[in-house]
Symmetry: C2
Subunit: 171 residues, 2 copies
């Protein structure tokens, strides 16, 4: 097996958030996709050590924000590469709202669109867990901006992969 083959799979780059008005957390994800159209459902893949995974399980809700290709490096730094166990990641977030259906935080900063989801099912897949979300609301916030792709983040911006990511390659 050639481990580099996995880099040929295509992804966007997202902020996945959960919580409520009291406490919030979020992480940077690539493994997000729509899995049904009627009703619309999306799944997110989350490392079991991830603090946000606990919040999603407890509150049965999450949001996904699609990062803008013109993102500021601080956005990735705010939500990625550190744990919400040790800090309040939303302290430095300048623009966020709470979902009207679930009260989950939704990050707007450097994003082009967002989804608010009710978590309806989960699947244990080993080191990670898949959360299935029914989409309750979805809005585009920057129609003319281009969503960031993982290959652009990796190849053009020279971004690196966090160790909890499903695509993390120890090499």
């Amino acid at each position: 097996m050639d481990i580099n083959t996995f880099s040929k799979l295509g992804y966007g780059v997202y902020v996945v958030a959960s919580g409520d008005k009291e406490r919030q957390n979020a992480f940077i994800a690539t493994a997000v996709m729509q899995v049904t159209a009627e009703p619309a459902k999306i799944i997110v893949d989350c490392h079991k050590n991830n603090f946000t995974a606990n919040l999603i399980r407890e509150l049965k809700a999450f949001s996904v924000s699609v990062i803008n290709q013109k993102y500021k490096p601080t956005t990735i730094g705010t939500f990625g590469f550190r744990s919400g166990k040790d800090c309040n990641k939303f302290e430095n977030c300048k623009e966020a709202i709470f979902g009207e259906n679930t009260n989950v935080p939704i990050v707007l900063e450097d994003c082009v669109a967002w989804f608010e989801c009710k978590m309806i099912k989960e699947m244990d897949i080993g080191t990670h867990v898949l959360f299935v979300g029914e989409v309750l609301d979805a809005q585009i916030t920057a129609q003319n901006e281009v969503p960031l792709t993982y290959s652009y983040y990796h190849e053009i911006k020279r971004g690196v992969t966090a160790k909890n990511a499903p695509s993390y390659n120890k090499k």
Copy 2:
């Protein structure tokens, strides 16, 4: 909810195949992603009406081939937009091999990389089913070619979405 928000999610474009040396089938997928690194697992999302879904369930194996950005339109036509119930999709496929571990067909034509997977788990998500595959082998076949993305297929090549796709929008 703005239904167009779903077009902001990022995907690659793949041929997902199953079968054995006697009978084969495949379909065009966008909803494929790596979900764990150790061991490496990928998931594919498949409409329940999809003929390949039956083969994956019966044979407990599938392959994923990553389509080249320089694909020929006939490749999408060969594997997409028709059902393997009514035709032998591999009849017109000029380049394919069988996986050494599982005997599943693996499409090489117009592809840059492939994965051979043992199906270890599935999850019912309504109209579709998620198959979790442990990756047994993975190879890059065209190192310098660019994988096709769904946004390139849609925006540059003006490709359309099949009605069994999870991102199908009736509008």
